[in-house]
């Protein structure tokens, strides 16, 4: 016995499949399912499956972006935005979520974090599709970062749009908050 997770409206179909699979000879069904899985996408979206898509996508083709993989325990895609001073945008996929993120500046270089945070809370809405947060590197050093999250199953053009918007927003945000940085 096994638990199966499906959409409620597909229950009647599952019932039929279940009945077929109870039979010792389920070859016709298995044969049919092979066709289905071939027609569907090749499994879930991961950082590794996203990289070749981006490298052969519109952003890379226009030579405005260069995409590469940062190897590690959890590989992450690095996008260098040539139109925006080569700002680095990092992209990671975990489960259902894809994140694109750029580092703004280190917290240590901010003169008055309270005033900056106040300014960010009042102006962040100007940066479409983006959020600003403070994240810590493993060594404990902290950075203001700007990021956008979207569903990992989003269309490639949507992911590219998010990356391009984020690169522009990152540079614009750095300019908007520069007066607080020493």
């Amino acid at each position: 016995m096994r638990e199966v997770w499906i959409q409620p409206q597909h229950a009647p179909v599952l019932l039929k499949v279940e009945r077929l699979l109870r039979k010792p000879n389920a070859h016709p069904l298995i044969h049919a399912l092979k066709g289905v899985s071939a027609a569907m996408s090749t499994g879930p979206v991961t950082t590794q499956t996203l990289l070749p898509d981006l490298q052969s996508g519109a952003l890379a083709a226009s030579h405005r972006y260069t995409f590469s993989l940062v190897e590690g325990l959890e590989p992450v895609i690095q996008a260098v935005a040539h139109d925006y001073g080569d700002v680095n945008v990092y992209i990671a996929v975990t489960g259902e979520i894809a994140i694109a993120q750029a580092t703004l500046f280190p917290v240590a270089r901010v003169r008055d974090t309270a005033r900056l945070n106040d300014r960010i809370l009042r102006t962040e809405k100007l940066f479409d599709l983006a959020n600003i947060s403070i994240d810590a590197h493993p060594d404990g050093s902290e950075f203001y970062v700007i990021y956008g999250a979207l569903r990992a199953t989003s269309a490639l053009s949507d992911i590219e749009f998010e990356i391009d918007t984020l690169a522009r927003n990152a540079v614009d945000a750095a300019g908007a908050y520069r007066e607080f940085v020493k």
Partner: protein, 253 residues
């Protein structure tokens, strides 16, 4: 759902210092993962309860069908007995009339008893139905909660992967390396590029002006070496030095 955030804030307040606040991501991951496990377990329990409840309802429905069949059987007996009583009456057999009358009474009592059982059974089935509806709502809510929790956990984890990668890239490259560029670095680079290109444009203008000889002529003209607008005073001075007006022809040099 708000329970997760409450736990997170409590963990943060407990830390009550900057080092603790820096640990927010680690805490978030731990609390979210625990919350997902708890919600998963709760959902599993609710599913088991639902299956049990639906099983019991089915069993009760079967009992109801049996009781209904029994009721129909009693109805048949009552009709038969009453028909026989009627026939005995017509035939004037008083003893038979009394016997069938008594039988009919007895079966009618059984029938009433069975009717009460059926009502009770229907109530039980309806009660199971209510419980089943409640459990189904609970399961749907649990599934939504787990989906939201998983999305939050995924977001936190993806951000951790990203920050770790950018830290690794920064550590592996020099401060001027384009591979570890923050937005502020990039902004400064863009501005430097713009300054450079402005300076380049100025230089290019100067060069092109010089290459067409304009710059030299302009300087000579200003110095009065080449006659031009700046030499007007010389012309007037020359005419004045003639002493008398002429016929308009230019003076001999």
């Amino acid at each position: 759902m708000s329970g997760v955030l409450n736990k997170l804030w409590t963990a943060l307040r407990g830390a009550a210092n900057e080092a603790g606040e820096a640990a927010v991501d680690a805490n978030a991951t731990r609390i979210l993962d625990q919350e997902i496990r708890d919600a998963d377990a709760e959902l599993r329990d609710a599913r088991v309860a639902l299956a049990g409840m639906m099983g019991k309802q089915t069993v009760e429905r079967n009992h109801l069908a049996e009781k209904q069949a029994k009721l129909d059987e009693y109805a048949g007996y009552i009709r038969q007995t009453l028909a026989k009583q009627k026939a005995a009456e017509a035939a004037g057999q008083q003893a038979e009339v009394a016997k069938h009358g008594a039988l009919a009474q007895e079966v009618a009592a059984k029938y009433a008893e069975q009717e009460a059982l059926i009502t009770a059974s229907n109530n039980v089935i309806a009660e199971y139905g209510k419980n089943i509806d409640v459990l189904k709502v609970k399961i749907t809510a649990g599934e939504t909660a787990i989906r939201t929790l998983k999305q939050r956990a995924d977001t936190v984890k993806a951000k951790q992967h990203v920050i770790r990668a950018s830290a690794a890239v920064a550590a592996a490259s020099s401060s001027t390396d384009s591979r570890a560029r923050s937005a502020l670095d990039s902004l400064e680079r863009i501005e430097k590029r713009q300054e450079e290109s402005l300076a380049q444009m100025d230089a290019a203008n100067t060069l092109s002006a010089e290459s067409t000889g304009e710059a030299l002529e302009e300087r000579l003209r200003k110095a009065g070496v080449i006659p031009g607008a700046s030499a007007t005073s010389d012309v007037l001075a020359r005419f004045k030095s003639e002493g008398a007006p002429s016929d308009g022809a230019p003076p001999a040099a």
